[in-house]
Every structure is written in structure tokens, then in C-alpha cells.
Amino acid sequence: MKHFLQNAYRYCVGVAAFVALSQTVCAQTESDAIMIPKNFVCVAGMYAHNSWDHYWEGTLKRENLNLGTISSNVYNAGVVYGLSNTINVSAFVPYITTKASAGTLRGQRGFQDVNLAFKWMAVREQIGTGILSVHAIATGSIPVGNYQGDYLPFALGSRSKSVALRGLINYQYGRFFVAGAGQYIRRSNITIDRDSYYTTEMHYTNQVALPNATNFLVSAGFRSLLLNVEAIATKYTTLGGFDITRNNMPFPSNRMNATAVGGLIKYMPQQIKGLEFTIGGSYVTSGRNVGQNTQLMGGIDYVFSVKKEKN
């Protein structure tokens, strides 16, 4: 138990953002096996920069001289709280700005969605010489800003409400770990400003059904008291949706797939207990109807106890 607490104490959140065409921001606490203990709070701030100058129009990779490079800045802030040693809850709200380097189209700015997560460590036991843990994570997102979801590629998000369930398995062997996770994301319909739209057929409504999605993740790395280093690969797939037709604009209910690879480094200076610095990056290696995004991020977290209590 002591080992667990120590480790957990030093690893609060690595908030990364998946920002492709849709600029969905996920608080990535839900994607790791790390828990903070009961009555501990982690406050976190994160900045991420996303950019791409190529995108996939359906399966065709192309550039767009009238957009140049699309970029966004994500400022994400939130808290994680240890309800118990096996249950953590978190809430994050990002503020996002988007822009294009060419053409005249105006970018957007504003608060996106509040992202809530409920993370439960269901199993934790010694297997062989390592420790296996299994986690169930329920997440939800609700738009907080009144931004335009139907304004791709500048929209801050899709403006849908979503709920997601994720299963995560982590195996820790000494200071090394491997983890795998699968997530199913259910997305609500959205209301757009237009009163009709064409997908592969005409729709006379301002309601748009967004495809649900899956998100798979594998990660592996090293965790010590001073430093965590991990490599991460993710595969996000919408279950349905349609391709952008030739030289058309993107639309919220497009099929949007992205496979990304990346990494995180977290440094925990021993002088100030509870302080953590994270840097990371990711790169979309293949996709469909999304930008080939490069993300660079940096974050700072502080973990502390809110109750003087010995359990």
C-alpha cells in the first residue's frame, strides 16, 4: 500500500488534448492507471498547441492554400479529487483559440466543454512479480461555451454532450509498466445554426446525429519518484459518419479517424512535495477527415491533502 500511495502521490494528471479537425479535448487522467489517494486534491493547468497544414479529405491527403496552417491553443484547467483510494473524480474546462495562417476565415475562441471523469480502480493484485490493476472510467462532457460546432475546422468542439466508458488494464513490473485501454464514446445530437444540410443525402433539420466513437490506447514506460517517461499510441475511430467530398468543407458528422503516437515526460522535483511538471507531444500518423495534427503540451500540477488524517 505504501508503494502505491507514493507512486500515486507523484503522478497526478497528464492532461493531453486530442485535437484534430474536431478539436475534442480529453482530460487524459482517465487514460492512465494512476490514482490519487483519498482526500487528496490535484489542481492542474495545461497548455497545448496544435497545428496541421495537411488533412485527409476522406482518404485523400491534401493541403489547402486558402487555410494554410490551422492551429489552436488550448488552456486547460481543472481538479482531481480522491474520493477514496480507489475512486477519483475530476473536472476540467478548456479555453481554446483557433486560427488559420492563410485566407480570411476568422478563428474562434472561448470555453469549450466541461469534462467530468469518474475513475474506479476495480482490481489491484499481485500477479507474478508485478502488480496488475484494472480500472473502469466513466466520463462525460457538456458544452459550457455557446460556440459554433458547425464551423470546422475552426470549431472549438462538436458541441455535443458525450458520455464514455473506458476499461483500462495496467501491469507494473518494478519501475516499468505497460497499459492498454479501450473506450466507447456515445455522442448526443447537436443543434447547428443552419436549418438544412447535405451529408450523403439531404437533411431538412438543424439537428445533426454524430457518430459514436471508440478510442484505443496502448502505453508503456518508466515510473520513478523523480521521473515518468511514457510512450503512447492512440487510435480514435468514429463508428459511422461520411467522408468529406472533393473540395467540400468538413462537417461535424464526418467520419473522423486518427491514429496518433506520442510521449509524455513528467518531472517531480523532490524539493517541493506534490509539484509536477509534464511535457509531451503527439503526432497523427494516419487519419480520415481530420488534420494531421502535431501537438506539443506542457502542464503543471500540484497535489496536496485536504484532510489531516491517517487512514
Partner: protein, 515 residues
């Protein structure tokens, strides 16, 4: 603790399963079957658009006792004996109205084809080829002028087809009762109509529309013919028409459409794209006159959209009136009015009012949409369903609207290319727009012109909503200012010019015999 976890988990699963409802009922899905308050049985005497002196051939209907007619009736009975749920859906869909459904289908095709071609490797742009419509770039590129003309020809052909149909329906030699009247064992699965059923009015609409598509959307004839077959099935299954009623109507509709096809092929729209000499001449002429010429802000520079569309033969206005209604020149660069308008555009560029964004998006009707004339068709159709008009009145009213839109396109394009003046974004670097910049000159706004004409016609047809329609038209025009792509003057003058064009349709409506 365990129970709490279990409880919370159950809550989470329940929330997960119940949240994010996906069912969407679209506005056009639950429409009631058309039950005209007035069958407009005298529509055979209404003034046609083009076919007032045309002659058509319609075979005489066979006698009730003939083996062919008996077979026709038996065919209906055999359908009705065993209707599948899918077939019932077909009846429900089409019973809302033939003119309505075909108008929706046309808007769908416009949306599908409203895509500017991607550039060639050398930075030039390919043009769609009507002779090879399925090769990239697909034919047509249904941009607003193309779409306005397509809506007009289809609506006008449908109207004429119905007027001609009514002439036969009430001609003693052709008059035939509906199958559900003639045979007690044929059910009426849609509201009963007092109209004679030979030739079928639905078939005339379908035949005319499909025939027009040979010219307008030649790459989608499979889709069109599937819809024709579906509507035919609907008329048979519902007990409203026999196969021979349908075939006579479809043939008549095609014959009427051929008159419109002949006009459309000769209306000069086919040459509207111009060529490099034409494009360059606009620029040199503007420079010679001491004005800043419009230039494309697209990369690579795209040739201006349909610069010779002003030469298209208008459908309602005398050709000479196109120049007569052309508004006075835009504000001179550097004048006080010009500076005031420019300052306003720059302020709009910085205005993050969410309501402005909504208005811009609602009226944008850009790439991949029904276009502004299509949006007004949508507004019209959703209004018309409330009035229980007959098919022929639907067709006449949409024809008035769409002929006004076609002439509005010609007048607006004439003004745009006559003055060839730049967009605000060309004059001041750094103006940010809330929607894409259309690839043609600024003065006058197409959205404002289309909307002014449409609101004028709709206000005539539905006077109790005239003020509201004009307010919508004004908002549509202003959306282009809010979006940072037009000066206020482009929008206000566009709206006023649109009203003038719409008046031609109103005047026709007053004297076409339908009132």
C-alpha cells in the same frame, strides 16, 4: 462503500444508455397527405409560361371495359392486397405532394453538386463538362446562378405540364374517373380527389422534372429515374391512378419539358463561364476606367464565377430591362460613404457577437448547400404546406418564385460584372470573415438580391406574412455584412434591386388566371 460503488456504477450505466438520444425527425418527414381546399379544376385555362401555343399528343384513354383497363385495375388491387411497410412509407412520403417532393429532390441535387472544382497541378482550374458529367469535376457545379436557373426551369416546366394536363383532364374525350371512384374494390389510400385521373397530374410533374434533369443534372439520371418509378408505384398502390393514367401524364410532362429544354439550351447559360480573354477584359476595362478591378482572393486565383451569366436570356423580364434595373455605381473608392462602409465592415470583422455568427451561418448557403435561391424554396415550401394548395397552385407559386430568382441572378450578375468592384477584404488586408468569400465581385450582394426578389414574390402569395418575409430577406442581406464579405451598400442596394425583379413575377401572378 461497496453498495455505494455499485449504486454509482449502475447510475453511470443508466446514464450512458439513456443519454445522447439519436432519433431525429426532420421537418419534411411528418407532413400530412395533401388535401387541397380548392382543386383548381379550371387550371387548364391558366396562362402557361412557354407552352401557350404548343401542341402535344396524348393518346385517348381506353374504355372502362377494355382488357387493358381491366388489367390496370387488377394491378392496383394486387398491390393493395399485400402492401409492405416499406410500400406504405412510399405512399406516406409522396402523398405530401408531388411538386413539394420534387422540389426537395432538386434542392438535394443542387447541394450535392454545389462544389467548386479543385485546381489542376499548374494552378489553373478545370471546368465541368456537360458531355462527361461523371468525370471530375462533376457536372454541374451548381453555384447560385446555375441553381437559380435550374429551379426556375424545373418549376416552370412543372407548372406548364400541369396546365396542359388539366386541359386534357377536363376534355370530354379524355375524362376518366380515379380508379377508387370507378371500382368499389379499389381503396383510396390517400385523400380522395375530385380531379379526373387521366392524364395523371403527378406523372406530368415527374415526367417534366425527369426530362429537365437530362440537361441540368445529367450525372444523376439513375437517381431521378428511381424516384420517378417510386412515385409511379405510389400512385398505383394508393389507388389514385392506373398505369395508363400515369403513362399518359408522364409522356405529356416530357413533351412539355422538351419546350423548356429547347429554351434552356439556347439561353446562353452554357457559355456563361467565359474564357481567359473574357476574364482579362473585365480587369483591363476596370483599370482603363480608373477603378480598382476585382481580383480573386482564392489561392490559386480562380476565374470569376460565370462572368457571362448577364447574357442569359431572362425568363420573365424583357432582356432590355436587365440593364434598366441595374443600380447606380457603388460608392467611389475614397469617398466619405465608402470610408464609412469600410469602417463598418472592419468593425464587423472584430465583432464576436454570437447572434451575428448565427445569422451568418443560417444564411450562408455556401459550398455544399441548396444555395440562397434553394433556401428560399425551402422557406416557401414550408409555408405552402400550411395552405392546402392544389398541386397546380403549388407549381404556379414555385414557378413565380423561381423565375424571379433566375432573373435576380441575371440582374445581380449583370451588376457585379458591369462594375467589377472589389470586396472589402481585397481593399483592406486583415479583415477576417465569418464565412467564405464568394469568388465574384462585391456589388451587389447576391444574397440580398435573391432574398429581395423571393420575399417580394412570397409576400404577394402569402400577404399576411409579407412583412416577415421582407424582414428575413433583410437579415439574409445583412448577414453578408456581419460576415465581413460585403459592404452595407451592397446589401441594401441588392435588396432593393431584388424587390424590383420580384415585381415582374408578382405582375405575372396577377394576370395568369390563377386568382
Amino acid at each position: 462503500m461497496k453498495t455505494r460503488i455499485l449504486y454509482t456504477s449502475l447510475m453511470a450505466v443508466a446514464l450512458f444508455a439513456s443519454s445522447c438520444k439519436k432519433d431525429i425527425t426532420e421537418r419534411n418527414q411528418e407532413l400530412p397527405a395533401l388535401t387541397p381546399a380548392n382543386p383548381d379544376s379550371t387550371a387548364g385555362s391558366w396562362t402557361p409560361i412557354l407552352t401557350g401555343s404548343s401542341t402535344f399528343t396524348v393518346a385517348l384513354p381506353e374504355a372502362k371495359t377494355s382488357p387493358n383497363y381491366v388489367a390496370d385495375i387488377n394491378e392496383i388491387k394486387s398491390y393493395q392486397k399485400n402492401l409492405t411497410s416499406e410500400q406504405k412509407e412510399i405512399i406516406k412520403y409522396w402523398s405530401a405532394g408531388s411538386v413539394l417532393r420534387w422540389n426537395e429532390i432538386l434542392r438535394e441535387l443542387v447541394s450535392k453538386h454545389n462544389l467548386p472544382p479543385y485546381q489542376n497541378d499548374d494552378g489553373t482550374y478545370p471546368f465541368p463538362n456537360a458531355a462527361n458529367p461523371l468525370a471530375y469535376p462533376l457536372f454541374p457545379f451548381s453555384n447560385p446562378p446555375y441553381a437559380a436557373r435550374a429551379y426556375a426551369y424545373v418549376s416552370a416546366a412543372q407548372y406548364d405540364a400541369l396546365v396542359q394536363t388539366f386541359k386534357y383532364k377536363y376534355n370530354a374525350a379524355y375524362r376518366r374517373k380515379a380508379p377508387y371512384v370507378d371500382d368499389a374494390n379499389v381503396q383510396a389510400l390517400i385523400p380522395r380527389s375530385a380531379l379526373p385521373s387521366y392524364p395523371s397530374e403527378n406523372a406530368a410533374v415527374a415526367g417534366a422534372t425527369a426530362q429537365m434533369m437530362i440537361l441540368l443534372f445529367p450525372g444523376d439520371l439513375d437517381f431521378i429515374q428511381k424516384k420517378v418509378a417510386e412515385e409511379k408505384l405510389y400512385r398505383l398502390m394508393s389507388g389514385a391512378n392506373t398505369r395508363s393514367d400515369w403513362d399518359a401524364g408522364e409522356s405529356l410532362g416530357k413533351q412539355v419539358a422538351n419546350v423548356f429544354l429547347a429554351r434552356a439550351r439556347a439561353d446562353r447559360a452554357g457559355a456563361a463561364a467565359g474564357n481567359k480573354d473574357v476574364w482579362d477584359k473585365f480587369e483591363t476595362d476596370a483599370k482603363a476606367a480608373g477603378r480598382t478591378p476585382w481580383i480573386s482572393l482564392e489561392l490559386p486565383r480562380r476565374p470569376p464565377m460565370l462572368p457571362l451569366f448577364p447574357n442569359v436570356n431572362p425568363i420573365l423580364m424583357p432582356a432590355a430591362d436587365v440593364v434598366a434595373v441595374r443600380p447606380a455605381a457603388p460608392f467611389k473608392e475614397g469617398s466619405a460613404e465608402y470610408e464609412k462602409d469600410m469602417t463598418e465592415v472592419m468593425a464587423m470583422s472584430d465583432n464576436h457577437d454570437r447572434e451575428h455568427e448565427r445569422i451568418v451561418a443560417f444564411w450562408a448557403d455556401g459550398v455544399g448547400t441548396v444555395t440562397p435561391p434553394g433556401h428560399w424554396n425551402s422557406i416557401a415550401a414550408e409555408e405552402f404546406v400550411k395552405h392546402n394548395w392544389s398541386e397546380v397552385r403549388w407549381a404556379r407559386n414555385l414557378a413565380l418564385l423561381n423565375m424571379a430568382e433566375m432573373d435576380a441572378a441575371i440582374v445581380c450578375w449583370d451588376t457585379k460584372y458591369f462594375y467589377f468592384n472589389p470586396r472589402p477584404t481585397q481593399m483592406v488586408a486583415g479583415i477576417k470573415t465569418l464565412t467564405g468569400i464568394p469568388n465574384f465581385p462585391s456589388y451587389i450582394s447576391g444574397h440580398a438580391t435573391f432574398s429581395g426578389a423571393a420575399a417580394t414574390v412570397l409576400g404577394y402569395l402569402v400577404p399576411e406574412r409579407a412583412t416577415e418575409f421582407m424582414a428575413m430577406a433583410n437579415e439574409a442581406g445583412m448577414s453578408r455584412l456581419y460576415g465581413g464579405i460585403h459592404y452595407r451598400n451592397d446589401c441594401t442596394v441588392g435588396l432593393a434591386t431584388g424587390v424590383k425583379v420580384g415585381t415582374y413575377a408578382v405582375n405575372r401572378g396577377k394576370t395568369d388566371g390563377a386568382n
